[in-house]
Symmetry: C2
Subunit: 278 residues, 2 copies
Amino acid sequence: MDIAVIGLGLIGGSLARTIKLHTDHRVLGADTDPETLAQARRMDAIDGELNDEKLRGCQVVLVALYPGDIVTWTRDHARFFAADALVIDCGGVKQAVMDRVTPFAKGQPWHFIGGHPMAGREFSGFRYARDDLFDNASMILTPLPEEELSVLQRARDFFMDLGFRRVQFTTPRIHDEMIAYTSQLAHIVSSAYVKSALADRHKGYSAGSFADMTRVARLNEGMWTELFMDNRDALLRELEGLIDRLGAYRDALAKEDSEALKTLLREGREVKESLEEV
Amino acid sequence: MDIAVIGLGLIGGSLARTIKLHTDHRVLGADTDPETLAQARRMDAIDGELNDEKLRGCQVVLVALYPGDIVTWTRDHARFFAADALVIDCGGVKQAVMDRVTPFAKGQPWHFIGGHPMAGREFSGFRYARDDLFDNASMILTPLPEEELSVLQRARDFFMDLGFRRVQFTTPRIHDEMIAYTSQLAHIVSSAYVKSALADRHKGYSAGSFADMTRVARLNEGMWTELFMDNRDALLRELEGLIDRLGAYRDALAKEDSEALKTLLREGREVKESLEEV
């Protein structure tokens, strides 16, 4: 079948390459940057350029843009979607997207499903796109509440065929709440962590934990600011929670209370050990 | 030559295995746990068990214990050290060790050098020891100020032969200040990070950044409490600095100030991009 990929950045580009690697689908790409389109074509990440007419023939439409652009693009192209097409976005927040898309997507013959592939890199753009980025990753889907089961099954099968380990169905609210903690907060911590006055002298004095802690400080601040602002309440709650918890360690240190500090560390270890992976 | 390794935990065990892999030295091990000693022997991580008499023949003595035990062990065994032996500890703090060892080590025919191999894993004990743990890592050494250059060269050559990428000479104070930031703070952040009420639901909603951020929450709280308390001032300063910096992101979010947030994120990205690796 024909698949449209809108936006050939890190995520869209990786989806295109992954589809080409794992399936016989034809991938039609769209990007505002002609050079990116040309490069995607040269690398066989896409089979051709998308246009409105070709969009009518696509059974799956993947919208890999920033949240605001997802809404705009989807609204502007809704009249070209095939009946029964799956239109799935890849934005990092879901409530802000679903709230604005639902009014015009509801009741249509095509099916809008919110999506968020749980994988990324600390680099942006098509040149960093990989065909194994989603191997063993989780694909989160937030369908409209009344969506047909057969549509959900089609969506799940599509992503499982690409090498995802699991497809997680949930609500936009739960998605945003979880992502505020598991991903957005990590980016803020990493960004704040790297700013110590000692950072530029780390060479020779650091190892894995410093590298891990600061990896995602290398972020696209335009995109992340939009994501953070679209999920402000949940993120603020998690950030305040973390600052409070760090305060407990600070207090134990300040009071030279070894027992309290040891208990705090033991509790953290126990939580970590209790977690299932991915 | 003969090398003594005191304490066959993750670090001592890995040093023993690394020496066996890269050199023809004979490794004599000591550990309070007979089962660990037996296992190290079975795995050829050591050639035999250390005793006071054999210690007299060791040209290098590596003390891989907790900071307090490093001091006690070194003092209790000083009379058995060979003239010109290099006695190097592997504790994660240096001022607290050097302050207590210097009084009885100074002026002796053997040479005490503070040491800290910059590598680790989030697991403890000999069974996690690896012969590649130190590949490309930095070995930090804090010698007495009056140490002879030829002794420092011997120490550097010894570690470079094991596969370390570099040997970094510094003072205990600078070591402790840097490590408070690059390593100790990371362990506190990781421990605090993992304690959100949402943590046990992360499965399906998380990817690399959550895994990286929480990896070292799996720590040995007894050892780390001792390390933190021995480096309390520097760690407290870094922890307070981080809490302050996180507060700036919180304020920008709370005020819905996208420009301020974007600036904070951009500054973090620029610092990260400016850092040299390892």
